[in-house]
C-alpha cells in the first residue's frame, strides 16, 4: 500500500494502473527497498511524500517514473541525432577546416616568424611599445619553459573562435537592435547560453559529432563566447544618440546608410568591449574544451588534475593567466584608442 492509492481508486483508474508496468530502469533506492522488503506506510502527515512522479508510480505501476523523463529525452535526442547531424555536419565542416588550418599554420611556422608577427600585430592595434615589450617578454617566457606549442595551440583556437563569434555575433546584435520582438526572442537564449554550465553543452555535442573532429570543441567555445558580442552590439546600437539618428533621418539617409555611417561607428566602443569579453570567454572555454580533445594549455591542466601532477597543473594554469592578461590588455588598449577618437 502506498500513499496515493486512494487517489487512483477514487478516479477509477485501478484497471489502467494494474494493466501497465512502468519501464523505467531500476534505481538504487528500489533495489534497497526490495532487499528490505515492503516499504512502510508513512506514519503521520509529517512524512507525507510530495505527489511526484516516483511517489505516484508507487501507487500505480502504469504511471511513469521521473527517470523515464530523462531517459525519454535521451532517446528522443538519439532518434533525431542522425538526421540532425546530417544537416549540421556539412554546415559546421568549415569550422573544422579553420581550426585545423590555424593549428597547422601556428605550429608549422617557425617560432622566429610567429613571434615577431604577433608582436607586429600587437603594435599595430595598440600603438604602444610598452605593451609590445610586455607581450614579447611573456611569450618568450612561455617558450623558454617549453610551453610554446601549447600556448600557440590555445591562441590559434581562440583566434578562430573569436573571429567567428564576431562574424556571427555582430549581425545578430544589429538585427536584435532593429527589432524589439527579435530581441525578446533572443535574450532568453543568450541568458541560457550564459548560465548553462559549460560542461552541460558538451554532452549533446559529443553525441552529434565525433570526438576526433575539432569542430566539436569549436562549437562549444563559440556557443559559450558569442553571448557578450551579441549583447553589446545590440546595446551599443540602441544607445546611439537619438539626436544624431534624427539628424541622419532629417538629411534623408537610407536605413543602410544610417547603419554604416552612423550606428556602427558610434556603437563601435561598445562592440569592441563585447569583442574583448568574447575573447576572454573563449579562453575560459578552451580550457574546459580540452575535456573533448581541444589541444593547448588545457590539456596540461587536465593532465595535472588527472595524474595529480601539481607542478604541471600550476605552470600551465599560470600560462593561461599570462595569455589572458596579454589578450585583455591588447584588446583594451585598442578599445581605448577607439574611445579617444569617439569622444563626444
Amino acid at each position: 500500500m502506498a500513499t496515493y492509492d486512494s487517489l487512483f481508486s477514487s478516479l477509477g483508474l485501478e484497471q489502467w494502473c494494474s494493466e501497465g508496468k512502468s519501464t523505467g530502469p531500476m534505481s538504487m533506492a528500489d533495489l534497497l527497498n526490495k532487499t528490505k522488503g515492503e516499504s512502510a506506510e508513512p506514519a503521520s502527515i509529517w512524512e507525507l511524500p510530495f505527489p511526484s512522479m516516483d511517489a505516484l508510480n508507487e501507487s500505480c505501476a502504469a504511471f511513469p517514473q521521473s527517470r523515464e523523463l530523462t531517459k525519454g529525452l535521451e532517446q528522443g535526442f538519439l532518434a533525431i541525432k542522425d538526421s540532425l547531424s546530417l544537416v549540421l555536419d556539412p554546415l559546421t565542416q568549415p569550422l573544422s577546416w579553420f581550426l585545423d588550418g590555424a593549428l597547422y599554420a601556428m605550429l608549422n611556422t617557425p617560432w622566429w616568424i610567429v613571434i615577431p608577427l604577433l608582436l607586429a600585430v600587437v603594435y599595430l592595434v595598440t600603438k604602444s611599445w610598452k605593451l609590445m615589450l610586455f607581450v614579447g617578454g611573456s611569450i618568450v617566457l612561455l617558450a623558454f619553459i617549453d610551453h610554446y606549442d601549447y600556448a600557440m595551440q590555445t591562441l590559434a583556437i581562440i583566434f578562430v573562435c573569436a573571429f567567428l563569434c564576431v562574424l556571427l555575433g555582430v549581425p545578430i546584435g544589429i538585427a536584435m537592435a532593429r527589432s524589439n520582438s527579435l530581441q525578446r526572442m533572443i535574450i532568453p537564449v543568450l541568458d541560457m547560453l550564459q548560465t548553462l554550465p559549460p560542461f552541460v553543452y558538451l554532452i549533446p555535442l559529443i553525441f552529434l559529432f565525433s570526438v576526433t573532429e575539432s569542430k566539436l570543441y569549436g562549437i562549444a567555445i563559440i556557443l559559450y563566447a558569442i553571448v557578450p558580442v551579441i549583447r553589446l552590439t545590440n546595446l551599443g546600437i540602441r544607445l546611439v544618440d537619438k539626436d544624431v539618428i534624427e539628424a541622419a533621418d532629417a538629411f534623408g539617409m537610407t536605413p543602410r546608410q544610417k547603419l554604416y555611417k552612423v550606428q556602427i561607428p558610434l556603437a563601435l566602443p561598445n562592440i569592441m568591449a563585447g569583442v574583448n569579453q568574447t575573447i576572454m570567454m573563449s579562453l575560459a572555454m578552451v580550457v574546459i574544451a580540452s575535456l573533448v580533445s581541444a589541444p593547448g594549455l588545457g590539456v596540461l591542466v587536465l593532465r595535472g588534475i588527472r595524474n595529480l601532477e601539481l607542478g604541471v597543473g600550476l605552470v600551465s594554469g599560470l600560462g593561461i593567466v599570462i595569455l589572458a592578461v596579454i589578450l585583455d590588455r591588447v584588446t583594451k588598449a585598442s578599445l581605448a584608442r577607439i574611445n579617444v577618437s569617439q569622444k563626444q
Binding site: D243, V244, E246, D249, A250, F251, G252, M253, K261, Q344
Partner: protein
C-alpha cells in the same frame, strides 16, 4: 510684392497615444488637452494648426516647452507623421509622398539644424559640413570646396580637420549651420538652434543668421522659446500654446495688438523700444509744413529714434526709403507705442 507660399499647413492635428483616431474625434468635438489626457489617456500634441510660410521669409514658431513647437517642425519633413491634416511644400501634399520621394525631399529641399547640434562625433568638421552631400553620394573631393566655403562663411576657417568634440558649443552649432547650407536646400528648419548657447554667443549667431538670410533668401522655419530671439528674427511670428496657435502675424503687429492675455503676459517683460520699428508706428506723410528734426529709416528701432530726439517729445521725424519721403513719425505716437500693453489693456477696461 506678395511672396509665394512655400510651406502650407492645413488643419493639422497630432495626438500621441495607442488609438489616436478615436481620440481625434473627441478633440474635433472640442475636448481640451487636460480632459483628453484624463479621460482618453492620449496626449494632444497639436490642434488644428493652419500656418502659411512664405518663400524667403523667416517664420518663427514660438511657445513655451510643451507647447508643441518641436512636434510641429518635425511634421514639416515628416520625422513625425500627423494624425490628420495636410502639409504642402511647393504646393505638393507631402503626406502622399512615397518613401523615396520623402527621402528626396529631405535630401534636396530641406535641411535641419538641431538644438543639440547632432554632429557625427567620428567625422571631421569638414566631413560633417558635407554630410548632406555625402548622403547624396558625392565624394569628399566633390563637396570639399563647397564645404570649405560655407565653413569659412560661418567663421570656421582653419577648423576643417578638427573633430566636433574639440570645438565649443557655439562653434559646433556653426558647423550645424554650415551643414545645412552646404546641402543647398531652399528650406532650412531650425529647431531651437541657439537655445543651448550662452546669451552672448546666441546673439552673435542670430546676427550671423540674419546676415546669411539677407544674402541667401532661404525659407527658414525657426523654433524658439525666447521672445527676444523671436522678435529679432521673425518676418512671420506664430505663437503656440498647448498645441494651438494663439496668434500669428507680423511680430510688430502682435506686439502692438496682442490678441490674447497669454501673449500680453509674454510680452510684458521685453524692451519695446528696441523691438518696435519706425514703420509700425509712423503715420502717412503729411503735406502740411511740419518741421522735421531729421531723417530716419523705416526699419530703425524706436530706441535709436529716442536717442536722436534726446527725449524731446515735441519733435517730428521724416521717414525715408531710398531718398523718398514715405511717412512721418511723431514723437507723441512713439511715446504711445512704448506704453506697456498690460497698462493699455487696463486703460481700455477703465474707458469702457
Amino acid at each position: 510684392m506678395a511672396k509665394n507660399i512655400k510651406i502650407s499647413i492645413r488643419n493639422l492635428y497630432k495626438i500621441f497615444g495607442p488609438t489616436p483616431d478615436v481620440a481625434l474625434e473627441h478633440v474635433r468635438k472640442g475636448m481640451g488637452k487636460a480632459d483628453l489626457l484624463e479621460q482618453q489617456r492620449h496626449v494632444l500634441g497639436l490642434r488644428d494648426i493652419n500656418v502659411d510660410m512664405k518663400d524667403g521669409e523667416i517664420t518663427v514658431i514660438m511657445g513655451l516647452s510643451g507647447s508643441g513647437k518641436s512636434t510641429l517642425i518635425r511634421h514639416l519633413n515628416r520625422l513625425i507623421d500627423p494624425t490628420a491634416g495636410e502639409i504642402r511644400v511647393d504646393d505638393e501634399d507631402i503626406m502622399n509622398y512615397t518613401g523615396e520621394q520623402l527621402r528626396k525631399l529631405r535630401r534636396e529641399r530641406m535641411s535641419m539644424v538641431f538644438q543639440k547640434f547632432a554632429l557625427l562625433p567620428h567625422k571631421t568638421v569638414l566631413e560633417n559640413a558635407g554630410m548632406a552631400k555625402d548622403i547624396r553620394g558625392y565624394t569628399t573631393a566633390d563637396f570639399e570646396a563647397d564645404a570649405r566655403k560655407w565653413l569659412a562663411r560661418v567663421g570656421l576657417e582653419g577648423n576643417e580637420y578638427q573633430y566636433p568634440h574639440q570645438l565649443s558649443g557655439g562653434m559646433q552649432q556653426r558647423v550645424g549651420i554650415a551643414r545645412a547650407l552646404v546641402s543647398d536646400a531652399p528650406i532650412m528648419l531650425m529647431d531651437e538652434a541657439f537655445s543651448a548657447l550662452d546669451p552672448l554667443i546666441r546673439s552673435d549667431m542670430q546676427d550671423l543668421l540674419l546676415e546669411l538670410q539677407e544674402e541667401l533668401q532661404k525659407t527658414i522655419v525657426f523654433i524658439t522659446h525666447d521672445l527676444d530671439e523671436a522678435l529679432k528674427l521673425a518676418d512671420h511670428l506664430v505663437i503656440l500654446k498647448d498645441g494651438e496657435v494663439v496668434q500669428q502675424g507680423d511680430p510688430q503687429e502682435i506686439l502692438l495688438n496682442p490678441g490674447d492675455p497669454y501673449i500680453v503676459d509674454f510680452i510684458s517683460d521685453i524692451n519695446r523700444a528696441r523691438v518696435l520699428r519706425v514703420r509700425s508706428v509712423m503715420s502717412q506723410p503729411d503735406d502740411g509744413d511740419t518741421d522735421f528734426a531729421g531723417d530716419i529709416a523705416e526699419n530703425d528701432n524706436l530706441e535709436s529714434v529716442l536717442l536722436k530726439s534726446e527725449g524731446d517729445m515735441a519733435l517730428n521725424f521724416r521717414v525715408v526709403r531710398d531718398g523718398e519721403h514715405i511717412g512721418t513719425l511723431h514723437m507723441k505716437d512713439l511715446a504711445r507705442a512704448l506704453v506697456p500693453t498690460a497698462a493699455s489693456a487696463e486703460r481700455n477696461k477703465n474707458a469702457a
